[in-house]
Symmetry: C2
Subunit: 123 residues, 2 copies
DNA sequence: ACGCATATGTTACACTTGTAACACATGTCA
DNA sequence: TGACATGTGTTACAAGTGTAACATATGCGT
């Protein structure tokens, strides 16, 4: 499973906050900020489904999108990748240092920390 | 100035350790590890020169490569980008948490910390 | 002077990502 | 019922990246 790009991460963030959403709803959230046309949003969404970053299903005749993995799981992968390649830190990571970030709640940090450094690895 | 890709970072790392080096010498360092042919290494080096990640000059009739920016400066940019987009941490970053990484020396960490959080911003 | 090793210039091709248009179906409203 | 809005499928194209071959120059040894 490949890592999300920067753009894809923007979409994931809105979906983690309130999934599932339709393409139109997602566009309303990220389009203005990213300066994207609706087409661009849709293309990116399609690719994210291809990459299994998102699941798509039809509800009331409309296609709605939903993240496949939790925020904690996805971000733990992104962080492991980053620290591994850039800083060559392969062992446990000091997740506590990032708790300032408002991207994850306390609970999500717990989950992320468990995924990164915990003992119950299940992937 | 664009960020180095993962592959480019590998090359930068060997050059930070011992610059300047010729393409052949760089290939000897990174080729086996990355599974690259000499051609691949040379192409990547060319692109890094285009992107101003490396400087090239001729010494004894041979082209040698050298990083334009210091390890601390480059990695501070990479880290700022990462923390900004992924964790949305725009302010000071807890660099002390990474001191376990052997990628930078104590002195380089000082420089990096100054670039990220210090007051004498000069870029 | 010739051939080989090495250096360098040039070109190629596939995949990912950014960014978007075109075209078609269908439901709704006048 | 015909036009319009909205959803969806398909296609496009450029830049960046991974990965490499081909061709040419040139010095060095015999």
């Amino acid at each position: 499973m490949s890592q999300p790009s920067k753009s894809e991460l923007s979409i994931l963030k809105v979906l983690w906050a309130e999934a599932p959403l339709s393409a139109r709803e997602i566009q309303e959230k990220v389009g203005p900020e990213l300066g994207w046309s609706f087409s661009t949003t849709r293309t990116t969404l399609s690719r994210m489904v291809e990459k299994s970053l998102l699941e798509i299903c039809t509800k009331h005749g409309v296609r709605i999108y939903e993240p496949v993995d939790s925020k904690a799981r996805t971000l733990s992968g992104v962080m492991r990748e980053f620290f591994g390649t850039v800083l060559e830190m392969k062992g446990p990571l000091p997740t506590a240092a990032f708790h300032d970030s408002k991207v994850l709640t306390e609970e999500e940090w717990l989950e992320l920390d468990d995924l990164l450094n915990g003992s119950n690895r299940d992937d």
